[in-house]
């Protein structure tokens, strides 16, 4: 399915999804509460069949005081791609987990928790993945600082 058709098909499932500008593959902004239901339908719909969560990551938009979560979906049998974007508050980054829909999301979400401090509601095992368990802070946030870091001399 090509990009305009894909966007139309997903918007038929989720009418309040809007297209994200400046994306090199079809990207839809969806509200956090609709995420799990929409992902389930995207996976099970015979015309869409998004059976693979390629990756999940986040972007820290410090100026806008929000974290943007990106879910990169791929359909292996149909060969098309879709990105879902969910924005959450920087101070209370709470989203529902996608573990029940895509089991791989368990570790991807652990990584996003490790680096950005995003809290996944109903996640079975939300621990740090790469950093030590006693690490303080979330290093991929733009305002992260610790004693180990060196400033570049001018």
């Amino acid at each position: 399915m090509d990009a305009p058709n894909l966007i139309a098909a997903v918007q038929a499932l989720q009418p309040d999804a809007t297209v994200r500008a400046q994306s090199d593959r079809p990207t839809l902004i969806v509200p956090a509460h609709a995420l799990v239901a929409l992902a389930t339908r995207l996976r099970d719909d015979p015309a869409l069949r998004f059976d693979l969560l390629e990756t999940h990551t986040a972007v820290d938009w410090l100026d806008e005081d929000r974290l943007e979560l990106l879910y990169l979906l791929t359909s292996v049998p149909l060969g098309h791609h879709l990105t879902l974007s969910v924005s959450v508050d920087r101070d209370a980054p709470l989203v529902p987990t996608l573990c029940k829909v895509y089991p791989i999301a368990e570790w991807l979400e652990r990584e996003a928790y490790d680096m950005f401090g995003i809290l996944y509601d109903d996640h079975p095992d939300l621990r740090r993945l790469f950093l030590e368990d006693d690490w303080v802070g979330f290093p991929l946030r733009k305002d992260y600082e610790d004693d180990f870091m060196l400033e570049r001399p001018e």
Binding site: L131, E132, P139, D146, F148, M149, L150, E151, R152
Partner: protein
């Protein structure tokens, strides 16, 4: 008494009764150590891939210098090539690997990350700024990543260091760490020539040279 004792007087002296006396033992040991480096199978990032391609493939084969037997166990290895970024979480493991290796053990730090943290020196929450903050390093090989010839220049430097290095009387005494940067104006052909010289002179025991050297030692012993 056989070809070795006949041709290497001074290094191996035959004694009555069929046994031999090894006199220039430091030379012999250092020569064999430098030509049988067993690297540990260890690599942390892109430099490791470069190193594997450079050393394992046909064009720059490391086997020519007796260093191709990569050992997966640190207890059997004596060369640790730090190829890649060392992060906070890797550092204690690297220290453990180093401590598990038996003496004599040698360490080469290849690439910018292993030398100083490289591109991750500033604003990094986790990159160690140089592997020498964790373990002592013998040879530094600069590059990002080092070219194969730079890597081999580092290996040759390490072999030279080992040959000039420890003696039985002073075990554990080493030369200071060296930077094996390619000298200014050195070309690939120069390195090839040096490698070839090394291979033709060294990897095969040159009986004529060794005999001459041995005769020299024998003369010294007689005076003694």
């Amino acid at each position: 008494m056989g070809v070795i004792t006949d041709n290497l007087p001074g290094v191996l002296e035959p004694l009555p009764g069929g046994s031999v006396l090894v006199t220039a033992v430091d030379q012999l040991i250092n020569w064999s150590r430098s030509n049988s480096l067993w690297p540990l199978t260890f690599g942390t990032s892109c430099c490791a891939i470069e190193m594997m391609m450079a050393t394992g493939a046909a064009r720059h084969d490391m086997a020519r210098f007796g260093a191709e037997v990569a050992r997966p166990s640190p207890r059997q290895a004596d060369l640790l090539v730090i190829a890649g970024t060392i992060v906070k979480r890797m550092a204690p493991r690297l220290r453990t690997l180093y401590e598990q290796m038996a003496e004599p053990r040698y360490v080469m730090a290849t690439g910018s990350c292993a030398i100083c943290g490289g591109p991750f020196m500033y604003h990094s929450y986790t990159t160690i700024r140089g592997a020498d903050e964790i373990i002592p390093v013998d040879v530094y090989v600069p590059g990002c990543p080092p070219r194969p010839e730079a890597f081999f220049y580092g290996l040759l430097t390490l072999q030279k260091m080992i040959r000039e290095g420890e003696s039985i009387r002073h075990p554990g005494e080493r030369r200071r760490p060296v930077l094996a940067a390619l000298p200014e104006g050195m070309t690939l052909d120069d390195i090839r020539k040096e490698m070839q010289d090394l291979l033709s002179h060294d990897a095969n025991v040159n009986m004529t040279d060794a005999a001459a050297e041995g005769a020299h030692y024998s003369a010294e012993l007689k005076d003694f």
